[in-house]
C-alpha cells in the first residue's frame, strides 16, 4: 500500500524526462533511498501516504539533476584533434607537479643498491655453489634487494604526480611489501637451487606465493587515482579522437590498407626466407609493423581537413 504511493509519486517526479539509461539509473537509485526514508517515517508513526508524500517532497527538484547530467555531452565532441592536443599540453603545464629533488636523489641511490644487490646475489650464489661462501651472504644480499625494490615501489606510489594523486601510505607500503616478497623469493630460490639447498625452496615458494597473493588482492581492490583534469582529458580524447566511428568510409579504407600491408609483409617474408635465409625473416615483419603503425597514426588522428 505505502510503496505503491511512493512509486506513483516518483513516476510523477520523473514524468516528461527523457528515458535515457542515465536518467533511469538515477530514478532507481532514488527509489531505493525513498523506500528507506518512508520506512523510517512510518516507523516513527507517520501514516503511509503522508510518509510517501513527505519523502518525495524532501527530495527537492529532480529536474535540475537531470539537466545537470545531460549537459556536458552537448558541448563535447566536434573539436579538432589538433586543438585538443594543444590544450592538453597547456593543461599538463598548468597541473604539473614537480618531483621532489630529495625523492629523486634517494630513489636513484636505492636503485643502485637494488641493481648491485641483484648482481651480488648471483655472484654470491655462484660462490655458494663452489663452497667459497656460506649460505648467509647470498641470503643477506637477496633480502637487501627485496627491501630495496619494495622501498622504491612504495615510495613511488606514495608520490603525487602530474596526473595521479598519491596512493594512501598504508596501501603503497603493502605494494612495496608485495613486490619485495616476489623479488626476494625469486632470488632466494635461485640461490638455493645453485647451492643445492633444496629444502629451503619451500620457504622461497611461500614468499613468492604470499607476494603474488598480496599483489593480486591490491590489484583487485584498486580504485581511481587519476586527477580530475586527467580524467576529463581522457574523456575528451575518446569523444573527439575516434575518427573511425564518425567516418565509416575511413574505417573501410583502413581495413583494406591493413589487409594489403600485412599481405605484402607475409609474401616478402616468404621471399626473403627462401632466398636470403630464414634467419632474416623478421626484417620484413618489423618493416610491415612500422608501416602499419604509421598508417594507423595518420588515419586515426591526422587528416583534419578530410573531416570537412
Amino acid at each position: 500500500m505505502m510503496s505503491t504511493s511512493v512509486h506513483r509519486l516518483l513516476d510523477q517526479a520523473f514524468a516528461g524526462l527523457p528515458a535515457t539509461p542515465d536518467v533511469l539509473d538515477l530514478k532507481e537509485e532514488i527509489r531505493a533511498n525513498l523506500l528507506d526514508r518512508v520506512a523510517e517515517l512510518t516507523g516513527g508513526g507517520v501514516a503511509p501516504d503522508e510518509a510517501a508524500r513527505r519523502a518525495v517532497d524532501e527530495l527537492g527538484d529532480v529536474r535540475t539533476l537531470v539537466e545537470d547530467a545531460s549537459g556536458p555531452t552537448a558541448d563535447a565532441g566536434s573539436d579538432g584533434a589538433a586543438r585538443i592536443a594543444a590544450s592538453a599540453v597547456e593543461l599538463v603545464a598548468r597541473n604539473r607537479v614537480p618531483r621532489e629533488p630529495s625523492y629523486v636523489a634517494v630513489v636513484v641511490l636505492v636503485s643502485m643498491v637494488l641493481a648491485a644487490s641483484v648482481v651480488g646475489t648471483v655472484f654470491a650464489a655462484v660462490g655458494l655453489a663452489h663452497r667459497d661462501v656460506g649460505l648467509g651472504l647470498p641470503t643477506g644480499i637477496a633480502l637487501v634487494a627485496g627491501a630495496a625494490l619494495g622501498w622504491v615501489v612504495g615510495a613511488s606510489l606514495a608520490q603525487e604526480t602530474t596526473t595521479n594523486h598519491p596512493m594512501p601510505a598504508g596501501r603503497s607500503a603493502l605494494f612495496g611489501v608485495g613486490w619485495g616478497l616476489v623479488l626476494a623469493g625469486c632470488l632466494l630460490a635461485y640461490v638455493h637451487l645453485a647451492g643445492a639447498r633444496h629444502v629451503w625452496l619451500a620457504v622461497d615458494g611461500l614468499a613468492l606465493v604470499a607476494g603474488v597473493v598480496l599483489l593480486s588482492y591490491l590489484a583487485a581492490t584498486s580504485t581511481n587515482r587519476k586527477k580530475q583534469w586527467a580524467l576529463a582529458e581522457a574523456r575528451r580524447h575518446v569523444e573527439a579522437g575516434n575518427r573511425f566511428e564518425r567516418d565509416p568510409a575511413a574505417a573501410a579504407r583502413f581495413g583494406i590498407y591493413t589487409a594489403v600491408v600485412w599481405g605484402l609483409t607475409g609474401v616478402s617474408a616468404l621471399i626473403v626466407g627462401a632466398t636470403i635465409g630464414w634467419t632474416w625473416v623478421w626484417v620484413p615483419g618489423v618493416l610491415g609493423w612500422a608501416v602499419f603503425m604509421l598508417m594507423l597514426a595518420t588515419m586515426l588522428f591526422g587528416a583534419k581537413h578530410q573531416d570537412g
Binding site: E28, E29, R31, D68, T223
Partner: protein, 125 residues
Amino acid sequence: MQKSSGSTSDGGADAFAADLLRGHTDTIVLGVLRRRDRYGFEIYKAIRDATGGDYEIKEATLYAAYRRLVKDGLVEAYWGDESQGGRRKYYRITDAGRAVYRRNVDAWVATRRTIDSLLDLKGSR
C-alpha cells in the same frame, strides 16, 4: 542573542550555516565514505545525525554531489545485491577521493584559523 555581526537574526544565522555546509557538500560526503561504502540514504542519515538534525543538506544537493564525485573519479558507484525492495546504489571512495579529502580538510583547517582571527574570536571567547 547577538554575538558577532549585529544584523543577523536567528533565521539569518541558520541560512548562513546552511550555506557554509552546502559549500562543503563534496568534502562532507567524502568524509562520510572514508570508513566504509554506503548508499544514498545512509549518507543522508549520517550527515543528518552528525548535525543533530539542525541543518540538513537537501537530498537533491546530495545526488548532484554524487554525480559530480563519480565524474571526477573521487568515488565509484556500484549496485548492491538486495533481493527485495529497490536495489541500492553504493558509493566507495577512491584513492583520488582520499587525497582530495585530505587536501580539502587541510584547506578548511587553515581557513578556519584565518577566519577566526579575522573575526577576532580569541578575544570574545
